[in-house]
Amino acid sequence: MNTARARNCARCLGAALLLLGPVATAAPPTDLRSEAPIYGGGLEMILSWTPPPDDLIGYMLLRGPTASGPWKAIEPIASDAIRHKARVVSDPRREAVPETVFFRLVALRADSPIPALVPGEASDAAAAESEARYVDSLLATGDVSAPVESRTRAYLVNLTPSRVMLALIIIAAGVLIGVFTRAARRGAELYIRRIPGIDAIEEGIGRATEMGRPVLYVPGIGELQEMQTIAAMLILGQVSKKVAEYQADMIVSCCIPIVREVADEVVKAGFYQAGYPDAYKPANTRFISSDQFAFTAGTNGIVLREKPATNLYLGMFFAESLILAETGFLNKSIQIAGTAEATQLPFFVTACDYTLIGEELYAVSAYLSRDPRLVSSLKSSDYIKVFCVVMLIIGTVAASLGNPLISTLFRIAE
């Protein structure tokens, strides 16, 4: 008997049983299998199964420590799925990760039981009791697969091609930085092209000194962990040194509290290093508001009231970019902006005197300091970029010819 005929017979039998009376039509998923994937880290199993022939609204996955239970309903699965990533424990911090675990899959139909909501104030015992009642009612339907034994396996290292590629790129970047740093220390000249926007920063500070007005530094609205904010802090270190040397004033306007704390330390260190620790004013490094537009209004207030001669917008910017830059334009400040947010570049280009585009933002601190270690890292990233461009071209040609090798090497999805 072939499978289709077998399914038809099962359907006929089910229909006949329905006509006979209120007997459940048990048609569970079959052939449930499990395997441990590399990226699962010992916590995840890949389950696959053959779905029952009739229409379902989904599945409920049960997990238990032995083939006979006790079972716990862990998650619903969409009706069209035939494969699923399942966890072997809910929280590895609270439960030990077992070597073996068992799964069962329940087919859910329109009339399947539904779990009850357990209110937050109910006791743990009440929640466990409600959960057990739900699982019992699921098992009673008969729409449940046979248990599958899953042996967990925690791989220590992921050596899939894409990860090896990633590791090689990181190692290559490290090696290149080392090579260029040695070359620079031996006196080799490492060329960096002239970036007018960065040259203008020093001119801007000089202008502020001549006019007796402050420099305004806005490190964007990104959190501290954003790379653009980190770059903004690194640049602030160099800028504050120059400001101190010129004996000018600088106001730093921050949107994120922790960014202000770091900016304060950076400015303090810059003034100290320049030999003017007394000129440092903590009240000039200000937290305005963590709300985007309240911050914008506050910073515009600084521009209009304290009339800075030079405005530096370096970091992560969004809708506030044009509002800030237009207010600065109205104030006739020299404005230098830099961001890797492509959406905001047109606004800055329109309203500012100089704009640092994308990666130029990350080059500023190396450019200003000319420290051989930093310049060498710029060089190494240029070589990595050349490598990426070559791989992009080869990958595009290969993918167009139907060869997925290069794209596989760069696919990091788990």
Partner: protein
């Protein structure tokens, strides 16, 4: 004439502002309701949501504030209508501190229209600080990132959260976002790593930035700005009627976009014309 053209190029910007105000207010007072087409990216978003089987679970990361409300809220509303209508379970969270008082009442209102039960059909997990770190944490462990919902109920006791450990456990993730943290951060931090099915509704300014993600398959759909929201409204409510008696806010605002765009184009055009005439005379 020459003097006028020179003065026109350097006119006080308050005249420009006045013109813009008129271009915005006029169509609000006298709407002319022009028909519009649906973009391929919005259609793809709608189709994927429409294919969801009943009972699937969708994560909606509602990351917008009152500033971007006119552009994005209509999408958020239409999307919730669409999901509830299809009996999909919805988990809403936000990474913007100013969003909860905005997004939670809308969720409750639309759930009420479809008679949905809190905890069983939908849940609001509330706000989490940390931006990109929070997104990374959502990719790795949701119960640890949001141990309770916004009402203080532990997530393990909420049926709709049963078995949800991480972002990949959702059938789809819809990011309704007007900036950072938003779609770009979701794509960079977790979409690639966990191969998530992610869609985005975003502001018109951010839209072009996310088109590369759509073209690369990292987003399955994209509704950008007010036109994106209006197109989603058109697909969700083909007869123009919103259950519960609401209005199609984005559709109604398309006239403003029409006149606003025309006004800016006219400014640029006449500005350039004046520039060329006066340059030749110089």
């Amino acid at each position: 004439m020459f003097d006028f053209l020179v003065r026109f190029q350097a006119m006080d910007r308050r005249w420009i502002f006045l013109g813009m105000a008129i271009a915005i207010v006029l169509p609000l007072l006298f709407p002319f309701k022009m028909p519009f087409r649906v973009d391929e990216r919005v259609q793809a978003l709608f189709d994927e949501v429409d294919r969801l089987p009943a009972g699937s679970r969708v994560l909606v990361s509602a990351d917008f504030d009152p500033g971007s409300r006119p552009e994005i809220e209509p999408f958020y509303r239409a999307n919730l209508h669409h999901l509830f209508r299809k009996d999909v379970k919805i988990v809403v969270l936000t990474l913007w501190e100013s969003a909860p008082p905005l997004v939670q009442p809308i969720l409750e209102e639309i759930a009420g229209i479809y008679g949905k039960t809190y905890g069983e059909d939908y849940v609001f997990l509330g706000y989490k600080a940390g931006r990109e770190v929070a997104i990374k944490s959502i990719g790795a462990d949701i119960p640890k990132t949001f141990p309770t919902d916004s009402r203080g109920t532990p997530v393990e006791r909420i049926p709709v959260m049963r078995g949800i450990q991480k972002a990949a456990d959702f059938a789809l993730i819809v990011n309704v976002s007007s900036g950072n943290p938003g779609t770009k951060e979701y794509v960079m931090q977790i979409q690639g790593q966990y191969n998530l099915k992610l869609a985005s509704s975003t502001t018109a300014v951010s839209g072009p930035d996310y088109i590369p993600f759509y073209k690369a398959g990292q987003l399955f759909g994209l509704a950008a700005g007010m036109p994106g929201s209006a197109q989603y409204e058109k697909l969700t409510f083909p007869d123009g009627k919103v259950p519960g008696g609401g209005k199609l806010m984005a559709t109604a605002s398309m006239d403003v976009l029409n006149l606003g765009h025309l006004y800016i184009m006219a400014l640029i055009l006449f500005g350039n014309l004046a520039y060329f005439i006066t340059r030749r005379r110089d």
